[in-house]
């Protein structure tokens, strides 16, 4: 009886994680297939490869929690909101998009869902997230802020400024470093003059977690642990999560032919592909193939419909040019 309940709960959780991971993969693959049609005129930084982080952390967060991210933000947007209408309208630059097409792929937000903003200048959302966490602490509303950033942000001064303030003021915030080892095309070995990021961060007044698993469930558990820690101690948690970026920095193609990273590396990570791994796990957890196929079909349909809706929709009218500059 008890083991049955445990299995059921695990199935539920993993289905939930798969739904989010699969949505990201499906939406991104849709973009890949159509990008060359030149209708989505927006610099696109695909989240393929990092689905475990987006799905795992977003599933761990509570509905009232808040998120900030980067220009590689499709993953957290989709995992958090699970909506694709506004998403594709925005990529197409159409009216009804997140900002009526005025911000494009790199600045997604969903204020009503707590995704407070993403930004295309590395590190810029870090201090904003810290200020948001300060306000939450002052208002004692129990909200936790999750700030996502890449390994490149570590080299920005503002990262250390922000971490310092968050630890000094003991704010309820999760720092989530999505480490793909590359800043555009430059590996960490050519950028970082220190041995261990986590060892440095451990000198700050916060909890530090490192993980390189591509299993959404493991990331989810870490996210839960981080949330519990931060909520119970009112201390920041730093999660250093490694993943592999499958495609070029910006755009939709493989770029191994340029020899700045070996394809072998990709193949090693791809053997642990988060979406395939999660699918196999669900089968192992006795979820039926037919159930998975149905779930996938629904998501595929949702993405196709949103995509076609965006294709059909209108561009913003001229007066939108002057909208939303001042309150």
């Amino acid at each position: 009886m008890d083991t049955n309940r445990v299995l059921k709960e695990r199935q539920q959780l993993n289905l939930e994680l798969y739904r989010r991971a699969y949505l990201i993969r499906t939406a991104e693959e849709k973009i890949r297939r159509h990008y060359d049609e030149n209708e989505m005129k927006t610099p696109t930084h695909l989240s393929i490869g990092e689905e475990a982080i987006a799905a795992g952390i977003c599933a761990a967060l509570h509905a009232k929690d808040q998120l900030f991210g980067t220009y590689r933000g499709h993953g957290i947007y989709l995992a958090r909101t699970q909506e694709t209408q506004k998403f594709f309208l925005e990529l197409f630059g159409k009216e009804g998009g997140i900002a009526d097409g005025k911000t494009g792929s790199m600045h997604l937000s969903a204020i009503e869902d707590g995704l407070m903003g993403t930004s295309a200048v590395v590190g810029t959302t870090l201090p904003v997230a810290v200020g948001a966490a300060f306000a939450n602490k002052v208002q004692q509303n129990g909200k936790v802020v999750a700030i996502f950033f890449g390994d490149g942000a570590i080299e920005e001064g503002v990262f250390w400024e922000s971490l310092n303030v968050a630890c000094l003021k003991q704010l309820p915030i999760l720092f989530i470093c999505e480490d793909n080892g590359l800043a555009i095309h430059t590996p960490k070995s050519q950028r970082q003059g220190f041995k261990s990021l986590c060892n440095i961060i451990r000198q700050f007044s916060c909890e530090v977690i490192h993980e390189k698993s591509t299993d959404p469930e493991i990331i989810y558990q870490l996210g839960r642990h981080a949330l519990d820690h931060t909520l119970s101690t009112q201390q920041p948690t730093f999660l250093h999560l490694e993943y592999y970026r499958y495609y070029e920095h910006v755009g939709v193609y493989e770029d191994f032919k340029f020899n700045y990273r070996p394809k072998d590396e990709f193949l090693k990570w791809y053997a642990q592909d988060p979406v395939l791994l999660q699918r196999q796990k669900l089968l192992n957890l006795t979820i039926l193939e037919a159930e998975l196929a149905s779930l996938e079909r629904k998501i595929q349909q949702q993405v196709d419909e949103s995509f076609e809706n965006a294709q059909r929709s209108s561009f913003p009218t001229a007066e939108k040019l002057y909208e939303h500059i001042y309150a």
Partner: protein
């Protein structure tokens, strides 16, 4: 009405707003220290506690983004910089984030953020402690920029800035802190984007910013004795700009000198001049004249510093040229000297 100094007027505005609205807080380097930002933050720590009045790490960039984040989540921050030059460390947040955040979110966010920055000269400050930079900030859509001159305006505009749902940069000249004037006691707002006619006159319009209004008023007093009647207009708000008041005045007098407390090149003075050309070219009896800093870094040594900054005499000499007057003997006049106010080191 009572007489208050500019520093007292700012202090009173902030105190009253912090009392009225618990969401307002003030922070920045040295805000709660014993000097209290030229006395403008006196009493705030004692009255409102360290959660609403606190100093920060030396992290201008992060602490500016911090203000944006706090504003997004419903607080109303006032961030203070004891020199505008330090705010340059935060231009990334100001120009890439704060100014366009509302735009980015499709109008779903308001950013009620006030950034106070002290500008101006004194006691060998040289080139990293004396800039103004109003044109730099005003260049960016999404920001508001104000430069109050009188204590009354300092209070009214500060309250308006705190209540505004947009990011507002307040530039305060350090010499103005000692200026005294009548200030209403009850809280009031001076609308951002409205100019003030400081002196009504018929012969020539002087449009002056910040401290240059003090110099322009001195110039007007002297010129009055020589039967020249200056009209002085303080835009008070650099962005948005009340062009209507400026145009009305220049249309009336036909002559215009712009005395901006800044460099001329690509400056606020250039902007006003260009707009006057666009709107009332045919009313001008002479070309618009601009007065501002020498096109150099600000020197520390006094004799060169005196050459760097324009003053009342600069204005008088330009008025003489414009109105074809003979050179006025100024040997018996006394002009402002900061010797009596500022004896350093700060």
């Amino acid at each position: 009405m009572r007489t208050l100094s500019y520093r007292q007027a700012i202090n009173e505005a902030i105190q009253q707003e912090m009392e009225r609205d618990p969401r307002v807080f003030i922070y920045g380097l040295d805000v709660p220290d014993h000097k209290r930002i030229f006395g403008s933050t006196v009493g705030l720590l004692e009255k409102f506690g360290s959660e609403r009045c606190f100093g920060t790490p030396l992290s201008e960039d992060a602490m500016t983004g911090f203000g944006l984040g706090a504003a997004l989540n419903g607080l109303r921050p006032i961030h203070v910089h004891i020199r505008v030059d330090f705010l340059l460390l935060a231009l990334n947040q100001l120009f890439n984030m704060i100014s366009c955040y509302r735009y980015m979110t499709g109008g779903k966010c308001a950013i009620p953020l006030v950034i106070r920055a002290v500008i101006g000269r004194g006691w060998g400050q040289s080139f990293q402690h004396s800039k103004s930079l109003q044109s730099i900030f005003a260049h960016i859509p999404g920001l508001k920029v104000i430069m109050p001159t009188s204590p009354q305006d300092a209070k009214g505009l500060m309250i308006a800035a705190i209540r505004d749902n947009n990011p507002v940069i307040v530039l305060e000249h350090r010499w103005l802190y000692d200026v005294e004037g009548d200030v209403e006691e009850t809280p009031f707002e001076t609308p951002i984007g409205t100019a003030r006619i400081l002196r009504t006159g018929k012969d020539l319009t002087v449009i002056a910013t910040s401290w240059m209004n003090i110099e322009a008023q001195k110039a007007a007093q002297i010129l009055e004795k020589h039967h020249v009647d200056l009209e002085i207009i303080d835009p008070r708000s650099i962005s948005p700009l009340d062009m209507e008041t400026l145009v009305t005045s220049v249309t009336k007098t036909g002559h215009c000198i712009i005395a901006d407390y800044d460099w001329l090149n690509c400056g606020f003075s250039s902007e006003i001049s260009a707009r006057l050309m666009e709107t009332c070219f045919h009313s001008l009896k002479s070309p618009v004249k601009r007065i501002g800093f020498a096109p150099t870094p600000c020197p520390g040594t006094r004799p060169l510093e005196n050459l760097f900054y324009p003053n009342a005499i600069t204005i008088i000499r330009e008025v003489e040229k414009k109105l074809s007057l003979s050179k006025i003997d100024l040997s018996q006049e006394t002009f402002y000297s900061y010797e009596n106010k500022f004896k350093g080191p700060f």
